[in-house]
Symmetry: C2
Subunit: 152 residues, 2 copies
Amino acid sequence: MNEKARVDYVEKVGVFFEQNGYPPVAGRLIGYLMTSNEKGRTFYEIHQFVNASKSSVSTALNKLVEKGLVKYLTISGDRKRYFFLDLKPWISKTKERAEFFSSFASLISDCVALRGDKESEFTQDLVKLEAFHKYLAEEMPKIIDKWEKMHL
Amino acid sequence: MNEKARVDYVEKVGVFFEQNGYPPVAGRLIGYLMTSNEKGRTFYEIHQFVNASKSSVSTALNKLVEKGLVKYLTISGDRKRYFFLDLKPWISKTKERAEFFSSFASLISDCVALRGDKESEFTQDLVKLEAFHKYLAEEMPKIIDKWEKMHL
DNA sequence: ATATTAGTTCGTTTGAAACCGAACTAAATA
DNA sequence: TATTTAGTTCGGTTTCAAACGAACTAATAT
């Protein structure tokens, strides 16, 4: 693989994940592992490539391992760990994200319950918005399940 | 409306929006407007209720107006503006959010293009993940359109 | 035993976002 | 004309997450 292309790509992934709420180092780390083989990368390789301190790498890496996005394999008689991305949880993570819709729906529901003017246009719009989010909270898992069935 | 209940509710909305990437003041502001009538609230009322400085309220309010989440009406011969929530853009905002899926899909696609080991399990998993996100990028707008048709 | 190496821990620094207060503008009122 | 009011602007402070460096642990290798 062209090294310049890899560096550029990793930076792009870094930005993408940063925009989606990840710390920059974590994003670059994911990018680096995306361009790596399944044998995994050592702590030192990651540390060198993402050009961050060992402590930053350690923290970011452990957080990603906790989240289940990164796994590692070990080789007996070899102290190093070989880190790699686990792509499987991404789908279930998306399903979890759909819970946003139901919690927003119930937040709106609470609001409607609180309001005196059930007949006002604004309250009606709130009710509609709640219905919309309830609908999405139901439909999202459905379409994900559908995909899972298609691809098992 | 019970004032204590309103205060509690506004705080809850504040936390929710804060968790979803909004500044705390903006979240509380949205909460306050959710519990308000469609006539709208004045700058001063908001300022008092959310208990933040005028400058913070001004900044947060203007950002929300820019985003189209808050609108205001004016009354001739009255200098005040009456701010209220516009609930209509929420649905299209959700549709926009679905663009996340297509941009992630193309990010993965770039990665696959970069990789030499097209046949490896990891690359295959990447391809699958890309397909999954493409699928969602198509299905999300569809189910939203479906809802819109049901409720026009 | 000594030296490397892999990774962790922890106290400090840095940088950006959020918030603030005070001074300001511009319209309305007296 | 002078004053009040609605909202803005801008420079400074606070706050908090992210990153860092240096010292540490524990396993391996010499």
